[in-house]
């Protein structure tokens, strides 16, 4: 038997396609033939890439793959960014996977933790997005890639609509190494609105019986934003955005940052910050940004992915969003992550756990979530050379030595001191340091953002400027000072806190000009989804799970 | 919730026990009862449910129509309401059409009857739970239950499933809090039914007495306090009345 290892790649590819034979008409196959075709084009030992990030999923192909068994397919080295679907989990339960390299396991994080415990989840490594895409070009080049597109034309050209996301990052390394690219599409048409992937790079196409799965991941209902989150948002706006004149930035997915977006047209406007901050964004088309965009705050938005319901709005605001000639929204995950790494003043995000050194993680013994893209942006790009005001100002505070870059990206962790149910956010030691997790990850502790990269921690208690700390002990004291009534916070020493406050390393809300009693949801540009629809002049179509009228 | 229990054999038997041979005047259509019968020397209007059926929009309307007819054609005739219903079936179309309003309409018709001098007496014959009991049976002047009837909010197992409180905990508490217990007897302790009629009783005679003694004064809170099953309700109501009169 010829295996992938012994044959020339190109010859081997021809053989695989030959095996498909009459099951396909040219490139096109019918849905019911897909399991058999997968059986014929995938060989033991293959590196198989399944497209699927936290939003867009080649779910039809994944579901068909999961109908196969170990006797059909085995020893697969699975590479994919997000383990999201029950079908993905099935592949492991059936013992078809010999190794997996991935980034993130959001909805399946509990199932993944269980599989790890049962030793049925042989992890190579958990990556960040760009790290994994980079490895597709180095040592994890896919032999077969199963991808998803919105539309194909009769030649097999693909249109990716608003959700380009990671498709190019998968297709290019696969197609240019004699791998097989198999695309599921929602529709086959005569003429595409635009060509995102040329037919030349596509081997097989199936029109899926149902449209690909798209998760509305970035929609945050303003109704769920709390007064405390508004308080934190006000503190961040004054103590960081205003102070450093942050012009280019990324926002994580969360209610904290949604509160900031909704404060720009109200509180931000009152502070006279329009035009001074928040002009250039690397962020998905967040519905909560609509009021700021409509109020003229935003120059441009580049995104790693689309967002369900924002299609008409983004098309209408092509002056702000990147769009194709046809007017439809364009995203690119790899390029977006790259932009978020090198070209922004600030990354701000939340985390489930932060230790006394500022390391953060979303992993616990019972939930292995992984990383996604946050660490690509929430880190110091020491390869950066271009200056901006924020970068230089933050750099100066960090008092760089002769061997360090002069600037620093602002990497901000914004968290409440407690999670729901009085679970403390601040801990002495991360759950992620658990021995069994470290063992499964070959000795690596799954830290989301390293403490050394973090410049500020914002809580409802105030701001800790970690970049300005001069020692590990000082950094720990600064974190305790804003850790409130958590066990970590209760250990703070009054005098130490007062000293840090005198030096501006710790700032309470009043120190940055925020009165906590002012913090109220009524400051938000809108308090519900309906308001976002109104701000968009009816162009935003919220998914029906968000419609409460 | 459970499927309606089918007790086809017993419906006519129950009607016969209550109304003797005059039960022939009661029609059963899709488990909804409407008609007229005799109790003692007097004529009564009979309406209600059987077979543990669900009450939907149409059933509520048929019951309401019967009450209206009784008001128009048989002034002051006592109305006997029989209850054997598992409640309303959870149904989206029924909700969309406003099932609550259909029930509210049925209650309005009964209220009109009361104001026009009809006595209202309920006998819970089978299941008397949830919305089905609220939408007519519990609205009577006086409410009675056969001891075989399943009366109450819901059985402890169901309560446990919804509240996530272990059934054993609820079971134990129900010893001192009859409100948590399911059945005609604990419901009577709360004042929710005037009396429970046993199999040995002369039901027809009881019904005669019930109709004769019915008044439109709602006495349930008083009964609940007297019987010790609902210790707080009456005093709190009185307190509200006293404080608001100040």
């Amino acid at each position: 038997m010829i295996t992938a290892k012994t044959a020339l790649r190109r010859q081997n590819k021809v053989q695989r396609i030959d095996r498909v034979g009459k099951l396909a008409r040219g490139k096109f196959v019918s849905p019911d033939k897909v399991p058999e075709i997968l059986r014929r084009i995938i060989e033991p030992g293959d590196i198989l890439c399944l497209e699927g990030d936290n939003q867009k999923q080649a779910d039809f192909l994944a579901n068909q793959l999961a109908t196969l068994d170990k006797k059909d397919l085995r020893d697969i080295h699975l590479v994919m960014s997000c383990i999201t679907l029950p079908a993905h989990i099935d592949l492991f339960r059936k013992g078809m996977i010999k190794q997996v390299d991935f980034c993130y396991a959001g909805p399946q994080s509990t199932a993944v933790a269980d599989l790890v415990k049962a030793k049925k989840f042989p992890v190579g490594a958990i990556h960040t997005y760009n790290e994994l895409y980079a490895r597709y070009y180095i040592d994890l080049t896919p032999r077969v890639a199963l991808i998803a597109a919105a539309k194909a034309d009769r030649k097999g050209n693909l249109f990716l609509a608003a959700n380009t996301e990671e498709t190019p990052a998968i297709v290019e390394p696969t197609a240019f190494s004699d791998g097989i690219v198999f695309a599921q599409v929602n529709e086959i048409v005569d003429k595409l609105p635009r060509i995102d992937i040329p037919a030349d790079q596509v081997d097989l196409v199936v029109q899926a019986p149902y449209p690909m799965h798209l998760q509305a991941l970035f929609t945050r209902d303003p109704a769920a934003i709390t007064d405390v989150q508004v308080l934190m948002a006000m503190v961040a706006l004054r103590g960081i955005y205003e102070k450093y004149e942050v012009q280019s930035l990324n926002h994580g997915v969360g209610f904290n940052t949604a509160a900031i977006e909704l404060l720009l047209p109200t509180y931000g406007e009152r502070l006279g910050l329009k035009g001074k901050i928040c002009k250039y964004w690397m962020v998905n088309p967040l519905p909560t940004m609509i009021p700021a965009i409509e109020s003229g705050w935003v120059e441009s938005v580049f995104a790693v992915g689309g967002e369900v319901g924002m299609e008409r709005y983004t098309a209408a605001r092509s002056d702000v969003f990147f769009t194709g000639r046809d007017g439809s929204f364009h995203s690119n995950r790899a390029m977006g992550q790259l932009a978020g790494h090198y070209a922004i003043d600030m990354f701000i995000g939340a985390s489930l756990q932060i230790d006394i050194n500022g390391n953060s993680s979303t992993v616990s013994k019972n939930r292995i979530t992984g990383f996604g893209g946050a660490p690509n942006m929430g880190c110091q790009p020491t390869g950066r050379r271009h200056p901006t005001r924020a970068w230089l100002k933050a750099g100066a505070e960090a008092n760089p030595g002769p061997g360090s870059p002069p600037g620093r990206k602002l990497v901000v962790q914004m968290v409440e001191t407690f999670q729901a149910g009085r679970v403390p956010t601040f801990v002495e030691e991360l759950d992620a340091t658990d021995a069994s997790i470290r063992k499964a990850l070959h000795g690596v502790t799954p830290v989301m953002i390293y403490g050394d990269d973090v410049t500020h921690v914002v809580t409802e208690e105030g701001i800790a400027n970690l970049a300005a700390c001069r020692s590990v002990a000082e950094r720990q004291a600064a974190i305790r000072a804003v850790a409130g009534y958590t066990p970590v916070g209760l250990k703070r020493k009054k005098r130490e806190t007062e000293d840090l406050r005198a030096r501006g390393i710790v700032q309470l809300p009043e120190d940055v000009g925020v009165r906590p009693s002012e913090a109220s949801r009524s400051l938000l540009a809108t308090q519900d989804i309906k308001g976002l629809v109104r701000w968009s002049n009816g162009l935003y179509d919220p998914p029906s799970q968000f419609v409460d009228w | 919730m459970k499927n309606p229990t089918q007790k086809k054999t017993s419906t006519r038997a129950v009607l016969a026990r209550l109304f003797g041979s005059s039960a022939r005047g009661i029609a059963i259509e899709k488990s909804v009862l409407t008609g007229y019968a005799s109790v003692g020397d007097g004529k009564v209007c009979v309406m209600g449910t059987c077979n543990g059926t669900y009450i939907d929009n149409a059933a509520a309307l048929r019951l309401a129509a019967h009450v209206i007819e009784c008001i128009e054609k048989h002034p002051k005739t006592p109305i006997v309401m029989l209850v054997d219903s598992a409640g309303q079936e959870p149904n989206r179309v029924a909700e969309m059409l406003g099932l609550a309003s259909y029930f509210g309409h049925l209650l309005s018709c009964l209220e009109l009857a009361r104001r026009k001098g009809h006595k209202l007496v309920t006998v819970a014959t089978g299941q008397a739970v949830g919305g089905a009991f609220l939408c007519y049976g519990m609205f009577a002047d006086r409410i009675y239950a056969l001891d075989s009837a399943s009366v109450g909010l819901m059985p402890i197992a169901a309560m446990s499933a919804v509240t996530k409180i272990p059934a054993a905990v609820l079971q134990k508490l129900s010893k001192t809090m009859p409100s948590l217990e399911f059945g005609a007897a604990p419901f009577a302790l709360l004042g929710g039914v005037e009396a429970v009629w046993s199999a040995k009783d002369d039901i027809q005679a009881r019904l005669v007495g019930a109709i004769a003694n019915a008044t439109s004064e709602d006495n349930r809170a008083e009964l609940g306090k007297k019987r010790g099953g609902r210790k707080l309700a009456l005093d709190i109501r009185k307190k509200v009345l006293a404080e608001s009169a100040r």
Binding site: R534, D548 | N57, E95, C109, L232, S244
Partner: protein
């Protein structure tokens, strides 16, 4: 408008916003600590008002009795104390011939207290009709997503008038219960657009089960209440016969459709999309409410 959303307010804030300034007098106020012995026994936090604030106040100078349920507290559900406060209030209203307004926010009977809550709802229904027989106006305001469900849904339909906002929901069985019963295909409870088209204020207004559809603002709710406290709706042979006809017609016309849009169209909404976006009186203007 003040910009304050009615559905965002707490029960106490709602009362403060509706009543003439300083006019509200609470009955059985929190310092009396009349809390549920059932919840205490079950190890569930109690509340000093047991989830309902009651009292009297003036609205536009006219005395009213007011009750506001606290939806956050065990879903606003009715236990023995909560229910007794409610019954007492309507009885006081009947005694004093003073209008009674219930700001509804309740899933119905508080299961943790078993049948006591169910009987209390039945008793309150009797008290409501006592008011109505005396031409004392009773008004239910349903303006939040917790809405009026279960026994409280039925109770709300016993009042003279219902004031709703588009966020309010009125029904008996909630979407999760129905989904469990009929399956996700028949009713996906996460499809909130469908949930609101099924039980939301707009649909209820179109069908005539809500008497006013107002903006989600305390001033708008107050204006609607002010309009209704001067009138009442007698339960008469004529009125129940008319209602019987109306409900029969409704069942015949829409009883076989699954599609709430068909109901909207059938009740005179020409442009469903535009109507979906419109609120309160603007919605009412877009829909010539069918008979």
């Amino acid at each position: 408008m003040s910009g304050v959303l009615f559905h965002e307010q707490t029960a106490r804030q709602r009362i403060a916003a509706l009543a003439d300034p300083g006019s509200f007098v609470e009955l059985l106020p929190p310092p009396e600590r009349i809390t549920s012995p059932y919840l205490a026994q079950l190890g569930i936090p109690v509340s000093f008002d047991d989830g309902i604030v009651i009292g009297h106040a003036k609205i536009g100078g006219k005395k009213v009795y007011l009750a506001a349920q606290v939806g956050q507290f065990v879903g606003g559900a009715v236990g023995e104390i909560h229910g007794a406060k409610l019954t007492g209030l309507f009885k006081a209203a009947a005694r004093d011939k003073t209008p009674c307004i219930l700001l509804v926010e309740s899933g119905g009977v508080r299961l943790h207290e078993g049948s006591a809550g169910e009987i209390a709802i039945a008793e309150t229904m009797r008290a409501i009709f006592e008011c109505r027989a005396l031409k004392v106006p009773t008004i239910a305001v349903i303006a939040t997503d917790i809405g009026a469900y279960g026994g409280i849904g039925i109770l709300s339909t016993c009042c003279d008038y219902r004031v709703m906002t588009e966020h309010g929901r009125l029904g008996i069985s909630g979407p999760i219960v129905i989904e469990k019963w009929m399956g996700k295909k028949a009713y996906n409870s996460a499809d909130r657009a469908l949930v609101w088209k099924t039980s939301g204020g707009k649909t209820k207004y179109l069908l005539g089960d809500a008497d006013a559809l107002v903006h989600d603002a305390p001033e708008a709710v107050r204006d609607a209440i002010a309009k209704f406290i001067g009138k009442s709706r007698a339960v008469s042979l004529g009125s129940v016969k008319a209602r019987q006809k109306e409900l029969e017609k409704r069942l015949k016309k829409f009883g076989t459709t699954n599609d709430p849009n068909a109901v909207w169209k059938g009740m005179g909404v020409r442009n469903v999309e535009a109507a979906s976006l419109a609120s309160g009186p603007e919605f009412a203007a877009l829909a010539k409410r069918g008979k």
